[in-house]
Point group: C2
Chain length 408, copies 2
């Protein structure tokens, strides 16, 4: 008898009919001889409705109270899913984040999991019950309700699977799995049977929005094998797991794209210690998430820094830089370029294969696409291109690495 954690998102429990479908699916898994712990989000729309009420009362509602308010969404879902399961004859019981022993730390609305105490869940499982656990919520050391921020329900599912030593954790969603590239862009993109944690992390941070990085990191840290699969059919999805030996045979696992990026370049920065720190500090204080960061010394002896960021942050970044540059680098200039996109090729095979960058750049050159900035990690090569060419670029690179064909 396997212990399976199944996570259902807000769309999957968005109506009473869909809740009945979730219950039927959980029962199906149970009828196959498994124990099931399902983790559910708030019904879609509920969280937004609650936020709207909060904003109707206060422009800047307290984050502690937002946590108390928003946690009710998942609490409603667990009770309703448990009722639907009971109506199908399944002995189900709902479990709040607190009851699941999800102990958190960090500021309100952005909780991080500190430790797990699965005692109550284990007790209910020993009694043969099916558990319905509230995603997205936990409890602080002093007993306050805490939510886990974006992607919090995935994180709950991974953490519950880790604490119960579940055999597998299924993330049931509206996509069939992780693809070699977005199938809306690359028609012959292929669903991956498996992908390593590190590759999944690079894909997530490069625009593949299947899961938030921190859930993948948590799974990697605790060795939780999870599967991204469809909530609408019973097809196998993509297993995400620690890399194993034959995984390196594949040079590139997938290609991901991120649109609506911008570049900001500062020239004429005196080449003195501490300059970069103060410039980056000003951007961090303005809560701008930089992606690529390049720096070098130009012919004139001054330093130049280039950053990429979402286009929507460009104005904020310029405003944040002005005072610090006026003080530190009176001769500096800011150049900006919006309308770019990022293409990333990801694969752990890159470590043991040479010529990956060459293949990629040649493929782009062959279709007449100019490369802007380049950044690399051990398992990723990312480039910026003009946004209108990003889909052509993705198809060219996908073809060049033969990603449409299953590896031998």
């Amino acid at each position: 008898m396997a212990l399976i954690v199944q996570k259902f998102g807000g769309t999957s429990v968005g109506t009473l009919d869909r809740i009945r479908n979730v219950a039927a699916r959980v029962k199906h898994t149970r009828d196959q001889g498994n124990q099931v712990v399902c983790v559910v989000s708030a019904m879609s729309g509920v969280t937004d409705g609650l936020i709207q009420m909060a904003k109707g009362l206060s422009e800047n509602p307290s984050e502690r109270e937002l946590d108390v308010l928003l946690a009710t969404g998942e609490q409603q879902s667990i009770a309703l899913v448990a009722m639907a399961l009971q109506d199908l004859g399944v002995d189900a019981v709902s479990i709040t984040g607190r009851q699941a022993g999800i102990h958190t730390t960090g500021s309100h609305t952005r909780g991080r999991i500190l430790e797990m105490d699965p005692a109550l869940m284990s007790q209910f499982l020993a009694e043969g019950k099916t558990l319905v656990v509230a995603g997205f919520q936990g409890v602080t050391p002093n007993g306050m309700i805490h939510t886990l921020g974006r992607g919090g329900s995935d994180l709950t599912a991974i953490a519950v699977a880790a604490s119960l030593k579940a055999d597998v954790c299924q993330i049931l969603t509206d996509v069939d799995g992780v693809y070699t590239c977005d199938p809306r862009v690359v028609k012959n993109a292929r669903k991956l049977p498996e992908i390593s944690y590190d590759e999944m992390l690079e894909m997530a941070s490069s625009g593949s929005k299947v899961m938030q990085s921190r859930s993948v990191e948590f799974a990697k840290k605790f060795g939780v094998i999870f599967e991204v699969r469809s909530s609408l059919n019973h097809n196998p999805g993509t297993l995400v797991l620690e890399e194993h030996s034959h995984m390196e045979n594949v040079v590139i696992r997938g290609v991901s794209i991120e649109r609506a990026q911008a570049r900001l370049t500062i020239t004429g920065i005196p080449d003195a210690p501490g300059m970069s720190g103060r410039i980056l500090g000003a951007l961090a204080e303005a809560e701008i998430n930089l992606d690529m960061i390049l720096s070098n010394i130009a012919h004139d002896g001054f330093a130049r820094h280039s950053f990429t960021m979402p286009s929507s942050d460009l104005g904020k970044a310029q405003a944040a830089l002005k005072p610090v540059l006026a003080a530190l680098a009176p001769h500096s200039k800011i150049e900006t370029e919006a309308g770019i996109a990022k293409l990333s090729a990801v694969g752990i095979g890159m470590r043991s294969h040479s010529g990956v960058a060459a293949t990629m750049f040649q493929a782009l050159g062959a279709v007449g696409i100019n490369i802007g900035m380049i950044s690399t990690s051990e398992i990723k090569i990312a480039v910026t291109v003009d946004e209108p060419r990003i889909e052509d670029a993705a198809r060219a690179v996908h073809d060049a690495f033969g990603l449409d064909k299953a590896p031998a």
Copy 2:
């Protein structure tokens, strides 16, 4: 600096505008130099909406899960009221039933308060905060969410006031206080400045629906003085407290009426030990709440029992009695009479004044009203009359005791 508990019902927090009004009222009380703990119900309509969803999933939803579901209503209210208070500059914090230390026992959806642990509330009060406590909810000894059933938010307010040794507990509602009789029936009914717990209990069990008996009993047990007053104005309401010496000067405190009652009489019961117990047992098993119970021996040597109950229970009562009477008393007969109502005159002064029943019966006789059954307690005389005459009866008795005039 007084500590005041203020309880607001679902209508008072039914919209964002009304939540703002509640916040303004709490701030007003605070600005007068008091510490405030407010207890709130779910926004009106929310609980019914949740119950409807539950019934949409299961004909007979689990009571444990109903508790998990319904408790979200109050949790939303406390967060929203706390936000509204913060928006007015009040340092407010929401408190769930669990955080308020409301430890319960009993079956799900019908919790009873076992003990209170106000440690967290005391800590927040010591920090100068204003507390917003969820009504209607507590936590079982093994950590499950528990709701307190009908009138649960009043009970929470009384219990919180008891545990914090509050100076006063205000039950803010849509009536101005407790009246000598329902002002819709008796035009010159008068708001009572005070009433004893015992009188309030007799009024509550006689159709005055201001509060559930168990909240009054809890207040009496722990000596919590509470005030029933309007949420819509700042007029003083009615203080409910332990009787004191000059309260006995008033013979009758108030008159209450209960409509839609029925009488059921069983004749021809053998006069043998244990008969009454088995008949009453059958009715109790059918969950029929009997009100008056009269019993005597008729000329024929057989016993006769008469009961009153809500008309709506009459059919169920007859069905429950048939098998037991067929077995025990084959010569018995059941007579029923619907369309009656009950009039009760309540007052602790009755103990030390004679002639109360005579005054009451003469007043009814003078307007040509026949009296059906009569029952009495130490502080109450109740009679049944034909339902169409109940309002005349109330006015006649109200006049006879001069209840429209404040006592000297």
